[in-house]
């Protein structure tokens, strides 16, 4: 397989005909797009259009059935460890341990990521959880859990943010915190791909919109977002790919 390193190394994401199936169902049917460094793109589409699967493929949680992609020049399959080093996935489920405290959860992540424990404490402060840092996570509200997951992401400081419906359950302040984290990442030369339903929250940071439909890229649009591509059924994309 030929890989053009010089080109794709500059790109945060270079996806070429990514496809993934589960059993007999093809959830992604050949997705190709690029995302440059310093760029944030929003990913929209109906339920089942393949948004979450695309993100999970890009962060190496699931392998593509066919096709390939690279993250900052590292191949998804062959250099998965480099991809995991570069990409930070923000899942819709918090993925924390109920019987550990907030601080223990973030410190555990810091150890696994080889970051100093002090980073864990400062990130808890940044997401506004330091007053409950020593409380067990069981019983946290869903908004607090989201903030905890955000603290873990801040500890990691990934170059590529892969955010799956990150705004769910966050209050106005939480949304601002998240957008701030995205801006900082972009400022460092990183990039972000954000799956959203609530387009308004992502408006301040997202520079480009990608619409998925039945596992394919249906439209790519510059801001302001093309609402037709987001809205339900009627297939009338204002900006078609081809």
């Amino acid at each position: 397989m030929i890989r053009v390193t010089s080109d794709s190394a500059d790109l945060a994401i270079d996806a070429r005909m990514l496809a993934r199936r589960f059993g007999a169902r093809w959830v992604l049917r050949g997705v190709s797009f690029t995302l440059g460094a310093g760029e944030a793109a929003g990913l929209v589409g109906q339920n089942g259009s393949g948004k979450s699967t695309l993100l999970r493929v890009l962060c190496t949680l699931i392998r593509p059935s066919t096709g390939s992609a690279s993250v900052f020049g590292a191949d998804l399959v062959r250099e998965a460890d480099l991809v995991r080093e570069a990409a930070g996935f923000f899942s819709p489920v918090p993925g924390v341990y109920d019987d550990l405290t907030a601080r223990e959860n973030v410190r555990f992540a810091a150890t696994m990521l080889r970051r100093p424990a002090a980073d864990a404490d400062s990130s808890l402060e940044r997401v506004g959880l330091s007053h409950v840092a020593d409380d067990r996570v069981r019983g946290f509200s869903s908004g607090m859990l989201r903030r905890l997951a955000l603290a873990r992401l801040i500890v990691q400081q990934p170059r590529l943010l892969l955010l799956d419906e990150p705004y769910n359950n966050l209050d106005t302040e939480g949304i601002a915190l998240l957008n701030d984290a995205i801006r900082r990442t972009l400022g460092r030369g990183g990039a972000a791909l954000v799956v959203v339903h609530d387009v308004a929250s992502a408006m301040p940071v997202v520079g480009r919109w990608l619409a998925l439909r039945e596992g394919r890229v249906e439209a790519i649009a510059a801001p302001p977002p093309v609402l037709d591509a987001i809205g339900p059924p009627s297939p009338s994309p204002a900006v078609a790919v081809r």
Partner: protein, 228 residues
């Protein structure tokens, strides 16, 4: 360097599992209670004859430890699957072997405690006297627990993420564990009978061999199993 990183991660995973287990308590307590319940049921099956019960004690205690332990292995991944924590765990860069080592360590401590409780219970229930060769008995418990835990942790990584995990794990695991169980039971039997380390020695070396073979095999194969 790489080894130190792996060891740090493995320790973190084991610490995390054990802390959560210690705080919730419900998990260990109910598994230990199940172990004792199984012993009592064996007691009923073997009849009220004290001599028959004493003779069957080594078999009963290892089977009780096995049946209760299987629940622990599935639980250990269940905790990861429930809150989507396994995803987060798999996304940490670095070797996956450290994850296996951490889980293995935590499960080992869990099973070791479980076996200790079951042995203590069977001393009482089955009228077994503490043998004079008790240091060798501790060695058998240690090696037996390593054997159960190694393949248990490995197969649970697959079974817990498949359909029908409740039946698949014992189906895969029990036949594979036949040598450990036989060796642990027979060594225990020999030691309890006041054996002068003649039969027991052969069984202990079998335990050592089994543990060595499958510890290396699982570490080599774990990368292939946790992915995809």
């Amino acid at each position: 360097m790489a080894f130190r990183d792996d060891w740090m991660r493995a320790r973190a995973v084991a610490w995390k599992d054990l802390t959560a287990e210690r705080r919730s308590k419900a998990g260990f307590n109910s598994v230990a209670a199940l172990g004792i319940t199984i012993l009592v049921l064996f007691g009923f099956a073997l009849g009220p004859d004290a001599e028959a019960i004493r003779a069957a004690a080594p078999g009963a205690l290892w089977l009780a430890a096995l049946f209760a332990g299987v629940l622990a292995f599935n639980r250990s991944y269940q905790v990861e699957l429930e809150g989507g924590a396994l995803d987060a765990l798999l996304l940490f860069p670095g070797s996956r072997r450290s994850l296996f080592a951490g889980k293995l360590l935590a499960n080992f401590v869990f099973v070791l405690l479980l076996v200790a409780i079951v042995v203590a219970a069977s001393l009482v229930l089955f009228h077994v006297a503490v043998p004079p060769t008790w240091p060798a008995m501790l060695l058998v418990i240690f090696l037996g627990a390593v054997g159960l835990t190694t393949l248990g942790t490995f197969y649970a990584a697959m079974a817990s993420r498949s359909r029908a995990r409740e039946v698949l794990l014992p189906l895969l695991l029990f036949p594979m564990l036949v040598p450990v169980l036989l060796a642990a039971m027979e060594a225990t039997k020999a030691l309890l009978a006041g054996d002068v380390m003649r039969d027991a020695r052969a069984w202990i070396s079998l335990l050592v061999a089994y543990d060595a073979i499958f510890l290396s095999a699982t570490f080599l194969a774990f990368d292939a199993v946790i992915e995809a």
